[in-house]
Amino acid sequence: MGRKRTKINLELIDLYSSLLNEVWGKGSELIGETLLVFFTLLAINRTPDKTSILRGIQVSEDGISLEIVRKQCQDVSPDDVHRALQGVVKNLFNVFTVITENVINRELFSTVLPKLREAEKIVSR
């Protein structure tokens, strides 16, 4: 049971890591790294984090890393991992909506939405 849970968590983290890297790549092209770091931290800080896994997200002008989250997720349920990371993505999109209406989101929806759906599938397995 524990091993299966860890496997699902790692799969989820890989997926979110890839999703956030795509957001980073496109976002930094559009608004630059300094603003993107600020928005990402804003999104993380505004996401409820009952398991504290979001503290493990590292954000710098070099990008976003979920390596610490990966190491610390053994005792957390896949549902909580998914909910926390999905919350960050949703909040980040909310920030983008407030500041640029749909300019950034339009560029990102096509790559991000399928990944979010895939994450739902992994959790519901």
């Binding site: 092209e29 559009l30 608004i31 630059g32 300094t34 603003l35 770091v37 600020f38 931290l41 804003l42 505004r46 407030v98 500041i99 640029t100 209406e101 749909n102 300019v103 950034i104 339009r106 560029e107």
Partner: protein, 348 residues
Amino acid sequence: MRIIFKNLRILSTIINAIHSNVELPKIIEAAGSKLPHLFNISAFSILLRKDLDLYIYCDESTSQLFTDEVARNTIKTLGFLIGEQLRPEQIRTHIERKRFEPRRMGSSGGRLKSHISLPLINEGKVLGCASLNSETPNAFDAQALQFFSLIAYQTTSSMKASQVISSMKDMAVYDTLTRLYNRSHLNQVLEAEFKKALIEKHPLSVIMVDIDHFKAINDRYGHDEGDRFLVHVASLLKASLRKHDIVARFGGEEFVVVLPRTIMKDALVIAERIRRSAEGTPLAVGKEEVHLTVSLGIAAIPAVWPESKEELIKFADTALYEAKGKGRNRVCFYVSTNPPSTKGVLWG
């Protein structure tokens, strides 16, 4: 391809215009006048977090309704970014209406239809928020955002330079503790007033103020409380003076008041007002009430004829010394024992 090059050239002009200005209203005007060449906008707005000043640079044809919407949206966006609810009544709004060139296309009845807003960030801290505002729906695309983010970065960088310059200017003029003029600025001001008094034949008075027993106060209550006493006296001095009088911290617990166009008799009234104000306004230190007193020395042209501003100060200091010698908490004035100098003769 040609359009991209043209836009890049315009972007470069805007960035240069921002870069070559250090005062915010000028930065906004420099950017605002050129932004319509690059974006389909009716207004450019910047809201600063520090003083909550909102600058809106808009086309002359925009309605009051539009600028109100721009103001509300910019305030809301900054509030969102800093996680605080900002109330419109906290904001000082400055609106500049100019004829935008080239003329805008597709205006749709004067309402705010689209915007992009970016925070002005320095070392992770939000200094403010800049917005492009349009009466056209979906007026901005990815390229507009890319360009505007460069403009926001450049604006932040110019604002940083502006803040450094203004804090350097501030340090050159004001005493950091009391916010009165510092000694160096006093020298400049007094030099000018001294020359004016001689050339234009105006009276000029100087009062030297010293807090009585300040060393004992510092020893008893500590240096932090000592600083509070200095700030307290500084505020009493400011409150006791007229609009055109000048007050500076001369050093330690000494202050100098310069009274342009003021004869000895009037200077005595002001000095006595300061003395009474200090005596009658105790300062609470914990449960204790401390009654401060000050001693004051006055020197006034034409009652005396100093050779220089330094000598005028010296005369006031001599009078102050006399006030201390006579028991403190009093006002004394300098009486010249020498005949008037050449300057005095010219004046009279």
